[in-house]
């Protein structure tokens, strides 16, 4: 698994790590039981502070993506993919509703919005 950190991104570094590991798990690149690099090793490799990496791992643990065993490290937890998909779908619905209400505000017709979405999706 590769993790790429942008120092100039507006997104906090721990969130970048969090999202990339989440994506690796959801896409199946990391499977249940796979070991993650140790917090300190990852901090060194990414040239960032230990506490930033620790924060990302703690959040992943809280949301059930990974679990940690003292002295052994962190591992990918069993994922209930259906539940995660369900949650993601709900988020997408909310975001699309916001897009639609924004479009209506400026009178953007459905066809143009669809065209725009298609363009962006295929990018």
């Amino acid at each position: 698994m590769q993790i790429i950190i942008s120092n100039s991104s507006k997104e906090p570094i721990y969130e970048q790590i969090l999202k990339q590991i989440q994506t690796a798990i959801l896409s199946g690149e990391l499977a249940e039981g796979d070991a993650l690099p140790s917090i300190r090793q990852l901090a060194k490799d990414l040239k960032i502070s230990v506490i930033t990496t620790k924060r990302a791992y703690e959040e992943l643990e809280k949301s059930g993506f990974i679990y940690s065993i003292v002295g052994k490290g962190s591992f990918v937890a069993e994922q209930n993919l259906d539940v995660i998909r369900e949650k993601k779908l709900r988020v997408i619905e909310e975001q699309l509703s916001a897009v639609i209400s924004n479009s209506k505000e400026i009178g953007l017709p459905y066809e143009e919005l669809q065209e725009l979405l298609k363009l962006l999706y295929e990018e």
Partner: protein
């Protein structure tokens, strides 16, 4: 033990400078960056930690031990990297491994040689003839060769070229991977801290203004820019310090949510860099808001 260093209610009066009832805890297993302007009290605090100065009042403990009864044991476990290395000036590294080494309980000659090779340090040249970068590497070599659990450094990266600085930061990160060691270092170069510091301690006029994990700083502080017309007695209270110019104001705030709500799109809100936090907190009217 969670805190490697604890200062409890420490006061110290020097000629032109006072530390008044200082409390400070340095956490084990992490890198703490110690920042503040020149004369803010960084070196004095470090000297108190190293027992080069004794407090008038209060307690300093390192590894949970006090200097009065355990000085030798404490010093054995600390590596002190000072910007001018007073102890070893006229010695070369070969002498040091012969003379200094037996003073330490856990001297590791193999480790010493490995670092000397890695840093390409000459063994027969007196340390005072080393360049600044080499001196720093030599001091760190000695600290790491006696297996110091706590490495205290005063301005380790000052005066180093960018390549040497990066090299040093890499070494610090390497040193931190086993989780047993603790690094405390003071610096002006806040970009070093952006990369490796876990906790930041800011000192101003002998007073600790904050001691926080780095990500909290990014979350809690912001720089706000806008038109001076927005400022009045009420809105000024949102800011720690305000800088005005004919073209507008720039200010540091800790009330990011309020500022967003009140000013909305009339201001630009940016993440505050460590340098900006340091700059605005110095002599601020409301450093704690």
């Amino acid at each position: 033990m969670e805190n490697v260093i604890e200062l409890h209610d420490v006061s110290k009066s020097l000629k032109a400078f006072t530390i008044d009832h200082m409390d400070l805890q340095i956490k084990q297993g992490y890198v703490t960056g110690f920042i503040g302007a020149n004369g803010a009290g960084k070196s004095t605090t470090m000297k108190l930690i190293m027992n080069l100065l004794q407090p008038d009042n209060g307690e300093v403990s390192v590894f949970g031990l006090d200097y009065a009864n355990h000085e030798k044991e404490i010093k054995d476990r600390i590596g002190f990297v000072y910007d001018s290395n007073i102890f070893y000036e006229s010695l070369n590294l070969k002498d040091i491994s012969r003379i200094v080494a037996p003073a330490y309980k856990h001297w590791n000659q193999k480790q010493f040689k490995a670092y000397v090779n890695q840093f390409e340090l000459p063994l027969n040249k007196p340390m005072k003839k080393f360049s600044k970068g080499m001196q720093m590497k030599a001091s760190i070599t000695i600290a790491l060769s006696h297996d110091a659990e706590l490495i205290v450094m005063d301005e380790p990266t000052a005066g180093l070229d960018p390549t040497s600085r990066r090299e040093l930061l890499d070494i610090f990160q390497e040193v931190m991977t086993d989780g047993k060691r603790t690094i405390l270092f003071s610096t002006h170069i806040t970009s070093d801290l952006d990369r490796i510091a876990d906790y930041i301690v800011l000192i101003d006029e002998g007073e600790i203004l904050f001691d926080k994990p780095v990500y909290e700083l990014q979350e809690q502080y912001a720089v706000v820019k806008g038109s001076t017309e927005l400022l009045d007695a009420d809105t000024e209270a949102y800011f720690i310090k305000i800088e005005r110019s004919p073209n507008g104001f720039q200010a540091l705030t800790k009330k990011v949510a309020t500022v967003k709500e009140v000013f909305g799109k009339h201001v630009v809100i940016e993440e505050a860099s460590l340098e900006e936090i340091m700059f605005y907190m110095k002599g601020a009217d409301h450093p704690y808001d």
